[in-house]
């Protein structure tokens, strides 16, 4: 078999059904073999960055490894933002790139780029395969590394002559890596210590993140919280891992967290961190975050533990396994008063916005999407104000339901991620909730969605601004809106129609419900809703960068 055939057979062995990408001169041989088989579907995107985000969205929605492909040089470099996005959020992905022939590498050949060099800091591992006999083993290893331990993207660079070279195909049954053995079993003694600490806590809080979703441990987390009666806050990446409608849920803490979430974290005497990494957007000023609090930190990645806050009880291990061990050791924690205090904060300081002036507000639109989809939709977001409004106002009750670039904060991620997710979960309703700035960053993928009959719903919260930056300028830069005014161009509804999708413009609150219902009836093509919202609406509450979590700017809310 030649290298390209080996690649295809190996992908099949890994259960790959969808491949997102674009061909080019140095990957043409592989695409020729791809053409001659039926098991793997190629989804031809219009930009390689979108191919990477689609593979990423596919992975986030299904929990499987997403795969994308690009040619050498510019094709490969266009993947970089997608790889960095996946790396920051620990998403299992394999990217395959064509490369110039081995004898030309390093000669500034046409469309040559040192992509293994370029992507080294944004991949979990990468490979340049110079010998076809190494190919099958490398692919096996790549998939294993991508999906195991703390997951992440892996890149395989495949020179054109290796694609053509012939060898016998033998796919290894398993990989053994001497220097890569993620520890999955938590230390029994540490787990016991954690249980003791939990049972003696007066004001404990569970702070869970994306690791719970990646580790498929939502059920265990929920059981643990309900058995102990400990309230739960979730990071952006963790939303959905514990039901938002559960009375124990205390919101998303951090820069745009509701008061009750931030107060809960600050006033706790024990933080039980599960698959979360204390991002600066969550902790605010570290000194006040750490003060008077003990930390139990459960994470599969030892380098996450002790990085930001010192852990009193560090537990390295798979969160699902550790929680399973921990649950029998704990019982209901005596913290009625604490629960009541949080419930009181929730009553006193609910997330709110102005509803009485008849203006179209973004928070209302998200509440309506939540109501009409019964909280069951798969929601992708871009990055900015709309992303935070989604986190605040959509009630995520199921894991793998929010696809958002939490770590890197990549505008242009949501729409392709939504398309990728729809390929992985064809029966789910998929929304991309977007801003007008973000949507224009990968708007070309309307073509991909139309051609492939992908009926994702795009809700653009259009305020004619790069809204989050504008908000910072309003609050901290004397309202000098430098480079953030986008104007009311383009007409998104007509753009959608031009691509062959459906498009509507919405300007009044009473139009929201009918257009959302109409969008759900669309089963063939993307449905773009251009919501002309209140232009200078802000995301509140807000903790200024570097301030303590209780120093919130509340605005109207």
């Amino acid at each position: 078999m030649n290298g390209s055939q080996i690649l295809i057979e190996s992908l099949k062995k890994e259960g790959v059904k969808h491949l997102f990408g674009i061909p080019g001169g140095m990957i043409i041989h592989f695409f020729d073999e791809l053409y001659q088989q039926k098991d793997i579907e190629l989804i031809l995107t219009r930009h390689e960055q979108a191919a990477a985000h689609m593979a990423d969205g596919y992975a986030r929605a299904t929990g499987k490894v997403g795969v994308c492909v690009a040619t050498s040089g510019p094709g490969a470099t266009n993947l970089v933002t997608g790889l960095a996005t996946a790396y920051m959020d620990s998403i299992p992905m394999v990217a395959i790139t064509g490369q110039v022939a081995t004898h030309l590498i390093g000669n500034d050949a046409f469309q040559e780029a040192d992509i293994t060099g370029i992507t080294r800091p944004v991949t979990k591992n990468n490979y340049l395969v110079k010998d076809v006999r190494e190919l099958a083993k490398t692919i096996k290893e790549a998939f294993y590394v991508a999906a195991s331990g703390r997951p992440g993207p892996v890149l395989i660079d495949l020179p054109t002559d290796v694609q053509r070279a012939e060898t016998e195909f033998v796919y290894p049954h398993k990989v053994e890596l001497k220097t890569y053995r993620p520890r999955t079993e938590g230390h029994a003694l540490q787990i016991k210590k954690a249980a003791e600490l939990i049972l003696s806590a007066k004001r404990p809080i569970i702070y869970a993140g994306g690791g719970v979703i990646l580790g498929k441990a939502s059920q265990e987390l929920t059981e643990f919280a309900r058995k102990t009666g400990i309230p739960v806050v979730l990071t952006l990446m963790g939303l959905g891992s514990f039901p938002a409608d559960d009375p124990l849920f205390a919101g998303m803490p951090g820069m745009h967290g509701p008061k009750y979430a931030n107060y809960s974290v600050l006033e706790s005497d024990l933080v039980i961190a599960v698959g979360a990494r204390f991002d600066d957007r969550v902790t605010g000023k570290l000194e006040s975050f750490k003060a008077n609090t003990k930390f139990i930190h459960i994470d599969i990645d030892p380098s996450s533990i002790g990085k930001i806050v010192p852990a009193d009880v560090p537990i390295v291990g798979d969160v699902k396994k550790v929680l399973k061990e921990l649950i029998p050791l704990v019982s209901s924690v005596n913290c009625r008063e604490w629960q009541a205090k949080i419930a009181d904060w929730k009553n006193k300081y609910p997330l709110t916005y102005r509803k009485d002036d008849g203006k179209l507000r973004p928070q209302f639109i998200i509440e309506e999407i939540n109501r009409i989809t019964e909280g069951k939709a798969l929601i992708a977001t871009e990055v900015g104000q709309h992303q935070m409004w989604v986190a605040q106002f959509y009630r995520f009750n199921h894991p793998n339901s929010l696809l958002s670039s939490g770590g890197l904060g990549t505008m242009g991620f949501g729409f392709p991620a939504a398309i990728g997710a729809k390929f992985g979960c064809p029966d789910r309703v998929v929304f991309d909730i977007s801003g007008d700035g973000s949507f224009q960053m990968n708007i070309q993928e309307l073509t991909t969605a139309v051609i492939n009959r992908i009926p994702v719903k795009i809700a653009i919260l259009n305020n004619c601004y790069l809204g989050m930056v504008r908000q910072w300028q309003e609050l901290f830069y004397g309202k000098r809106y430098s480079g953030t005014h986008l104007g009311s161009c383009p007409d998104f509804a007509r753009i959608a129609e031009a691509f062959g999708a459906k498009g509507r413009r919405i300007t009044r609150p009473e139009e929201v419900e009918p257009v959302l219902k109409e969008s759900l009836k669309e089963t063939e093509v993307p449905f773009v809703m251009d919501f002309r919202i209140e232009q200078e609406e802000n995301v509140f509450p807000m903790v200024p960068a570097g301030a303590s979590l209780d120093e919130m700017i509340s605005g109207l809310a």
Binding site: R120, P121, Y127, V145, S303
Partner: protein
């Protein structure tokens, strides 16, 4: 900022050195010296590198090093006892009038002259890095033409 001597054993893998050095450069840290050579197992290389940095950042880098596929073991030698050596090769101006002074200095530092031409004396010396520093300071007035140092190698002891 304290100097740390970090000793790693690694598999012979593609891009290994770039990955390791990248963890330091990504945090704006300079590697002061770096020695790489094979070990008793020909498929395993040892790196000894010295770097100055704040303790928490060095700890974070050590954890990241341990995560790299291909890294077998990482030790911060400063946490225990160790022995260190460095080799120096240096060309000193062959100043005929002061040759005996140079030879005396070299002897004092337990070095050797290993080559002599009309232009230079080539001196070899080995010792702890501060001793090498000392010899170089002493030789500088006689004219240093070229200095080659290996950087620190170090080994833990009981």
């Amino acid at each position: 900022m304290k100097e740390h001597i970090i000793s790693l054993t690694v598999e012979d893998r593609f891009g290994m050195l770039a990955r390791i050095s990248g963890l330091f450069s990504a945090r704006g840290y300079n590697i002061n010296s770096l020695v790489v050579a094979t070990t008793e197992d020909p498929s395993v290389s040892r790196l000894v590198l010295t770097v100055s940095g704040d303790q928490p950042i060095i700890e974070q880098i050590m954890k990241q090093l341990n995560k790299l596929i291909g890294v077998i073991k990482t030790v911060d030698l400063n946490e225990g006892k160790y022995l260190e050596r460095e080799l120096l090769l240096v060309k000193v101006d062959n100043n005929t009038q002061k040759r005996s002074e140079i030879l005396k200095l070299v002897e004092l530092y337990r070095g050797m002259v290993i080559d002599v031409t009309s232009k230079y004396l080539m001196v070899e010396a080995m010792g702890e890095s501060h001793q090498i520093d000392g010899l170089l300071v002493a030789l500088r007035p006689y004219g240093l033409k070229e200095v080659v140092r290996t950087g620190k190698v170090a080994i833990g002891r009981e």
